[in-house]
């Protein structure tokens, strides 16, 4: 009973794919508030499909199973409704949107969320104050706000901009899809530091990554290994270190024996 109440996200036997090809072959995952989960796995294991399906990308078809977020069926909701409930996806490849400044983009997102939640619109002054605070947290230059959304951004700038949006939107569940890719070690430290500062006992984070590197900075409570559309091993943070030393082979071979 208590367990169910604390479950923020519950994924049950989720099978999903794209264009008739099944990529996720039965995912089970429970995330409670306050937790950090890492999902690791080799390329092509289904990591990005999982994050896309949670966020609601309709290019992917869900064939069976369920995703429950705070006792609500997430699969029934549009991506914007999921965002309003508190789900946030940091994109592996953030999209460039010419013609819209970062500040106008964030203003539109926050205005809409507050409208849906029945909250008073945020004043321009409060919004700017909050943006400044979060930019400091992520060591971002002031000029960022007037630049067009991700247009001409370097890989690192794009990822930083993702975490900036996360900081502004204050989601309950943040999914960081390969946030470490394209980041040098200094940028990685800044981004991880930002994520850690945003963490509290009421929210949860899923870190999706190929490498263990990011997990030196964002310490997970649980590590899951995704292989061929299934979570084939789960453990504590030491599992990430083990993977770093031994690679994925020892787990995937064992799993292949089991599922073929």
């Amino acid at each position: 009973m208590l367990d169910k109440k604390n479950n923020m996200l519950k994924i049950d036997n989720l099978k999903a794919g794209i264009e008739g090809l099944e990529i996720l072959k039965g995912i089970n995952l429970s995330v409670k508030k306050g937790e950090v989960h890492a999902i690791m796995g080799p390329n092509g294991s289904g990591k990005s499909t999982l994050s896309s399906v949670i966020a609601g990308n309709d290019n992917y078809e869900v064939n069976s199973g369920s995703i429950t977020f705070e006792d609500e069926d997430l699969l029934d909701l549009d991506p914007d409704q999921r965002a309003h409930r508190g789900v946030f996806l940091s994109f592996q490849y953030p999209v460039e949107i010419p013609g819209i400044s970062v500040s106008n983009f964030i203003k539109a997102a926050i205005t809409e969320k507050r409208k849906v939640l029945g909250l008073e619109p945020i004043t321009a002054k409060d919004l700017l104050g909050k943006m400044k605070e979060k930019m400091d947290l992520l060591d971002m230059q002031k000029g960022y706000l007037s630049r067009n959304m991700n247009e001409g951004f370097s890989g690192g700038e794009k990822k930083r901009n993702e975490i900036f949006q996360m900081a502004m939107l204050e989601p309950k569940l943040a999914i960081l899809d390969e946030t470490d890719s394209g980041l040098d070690i200094d940028a990685l430290r800044v981004v991880a530091n930002g994520v850690n500062k945003l963490k509290n006992s009421e929210n949860a984070t899923i870190v999706i990554t190929h490498y263990q590197r990011l997990l030196d900075y964002i310490i997970p409570d649980y590590v899951h290994v995704l292989h061929n559309g299934r979570i084939v091993k789960s453990g504590g943070k030491e599992l990430a270190h083990e993977l770093e030393k031994k690679g994925y082979d020892w787990i995937t071979k064992e799993a292949d024996k089991k599922w073929g």
Partner: protein, 405 residues
């Protein structure tokens, strides 16, 4: 009957005036353009001219509320109601009068027809060195009881070093057709400057054929912003001729049409002299079953060395049933010039829509924001804040969203 018969019946009104008769014969000889005419290939008038029209109907009385409603409330206003000039501003250094063109020049069927039978129009003369910051609003309101065919012929002459800004609007307040054949000649003397804003947020009973000709003397600078936001049928012919060196000509257009609306922008940039510049940017957004045409011709004459001509026409087809025909045309007879042109036709980026969606922005709003962002590059060129704000409001209305961009 049909429009051509209506015009023939009207002929006695200008019988005896040799200039007008000459123009009339030229029109009859040419006839209304058909889609066999290359310049009208995608712009069919067939259905429109099959209707009966009253030529220059006297019109119905407009209430003060109606006039106020369509007024943009600029300080200086030239107001035409049902073809009568009812008010004009007093501005130091600017003379505004009723205009009758005694020696009309015409080269197309519509300009010949306009030359033959137009009795309505304004003339603005700006004295040299006169700088008018506040825009002059020119409003043509009609309210008719039958289909009305109305022609205006206007002239603006801007003296040396003078500067003005114009905002022009046409409004048909009735649900009968109003077919407007508008002809405006603008002469810019040396080092003068004009910004002409055409606000064409017309109703689906408005048919507009517009010809605006600008001739520029050396060092002059002209900008024409066309905001085509509605109307059953709109054909704009916008022509620039640079008669001196170091002229600059700018054209910015935003077209956003829905349902069965039709909009056609034909532009002609005549580079006749050296060291001049032209910039042309048209953004088209087509919803519903709307149709658009863009035809941008740049002529670079042999003497027009070291000119810089830029042209871009970018289009968004929001609906599967909308269409655009875009045709850039470059004719270059000088060898040391810089000319660039580009034309794109595309849809909204689905990845961008999903991305915005995951940030909590509704699909409709995400579409509107992306569409507005697409148009904003051309809108930003308008120097009059009030017009920019109005354009933003009208775009939101057109996209059916409650957003302030």
């Amino acid at each position: 009957m049909g429009l051509i018969e209506n015009i023939k019946e009207y002929q006695h009104n200008f019988a005896g005036n040799s200039n007008r008769e000459k123009a009339y014969l030229s029109f009859l000889n040419k006839g209304f353009p058909t889609t066999k005419n290359e310049e009208w290939k995608f712009s069919s008038l067939k259905k429109i001219i099959s209707h009966d029209f009253t030529i220059e109907e006297k019109g119905l009385k407009l209430s003060k509320e109606e006039i106020d409603h369509y007024s943009l409330n600029f300080k200086h206003q030239i107001l035409f109601i049902n073809g009568t000039l009812t008010s004009k501003p007093n501005i130091n250094g600017v003379r505004i009068n009723k205009y009758v063109d005694d020696s009309p020049i015409f080269n197309s069927a519509f300009s010949a027809l306009n030359a033959a039978c137009s009795n309505i129009g304004y003339e603005i003369n700006v004295d040299p060195n006169t700088i008018i910051e506040e825009p002059i609003e020119i409003l043509f309101l009609t309210k008719n009881s039958s289909n009305n065919f109305i022609q205006y012929r206007n002239k603006i002459v801007i003296g040396e070093n003078a500067q003005i800004k114009i905002v022009e609007g046409i409004k048909n307040l009735s649900d009968k057709y109003c077919f407007t054949n508008m002809h405006t000649n603008i002469k810019l003397d040396k080092s003068s400057n004009i910004e002409f804003n055409k606000l064409q947020n017309n109703t689906d009973s408005q048919i507009t054929i517009d010809e605006t000709n600008l001739t520029q003397e050396k060092n002059s600078n002209s900008t024409v912003n066309t905001l085509l936001f509605g109307g059953m049928f709109t054909r704009n012919n916008l022509n620039f001729a640079q008669n001196g060196e170091r002229c600059e000509s700018n054209m910015n257009g935003v077209v956003i049409l829905d349902e069965n609306e039709f909009g056609d922008n034909h532009t002609y940039m005549d580079h006749k002299n050296a060291n001049c510049e032209s910039n042309e940017l048209y953004k088209g957004i087509y919803l519903g079953k709307s149709k658009g045409v863009f035809n941008g011709k740049i002529m670079v004459q042999p003497d027009a060395q070291k000119i810089n001509a830029f042209q871009a026409n970018n289009n968004l087809l929001i609906s599967d049933n909308a269409s655009i025909n875009s045709k850039p045309q470059l004719e270059i007879y000088a060898d040391d010039v810089k000319c660039s042109h580009g034309c794109t036709i595309g849809q909204l980026d689905e990845n961008a829509l999903f991305y915005m969606n995951t940030r909590g922005i509704r699909k409709e709003d995400a579409r509107a924001i992306l569409t507005f962002a697409f148009a904003s590059e051309a809108l930003e060129k308008i120097s009059i804040n009030k017009i920019q704000d109005l354009a933003k409001k009208l775009i939101a209305e057109k996209l059916k969203v409650d957003l302030s961009f």
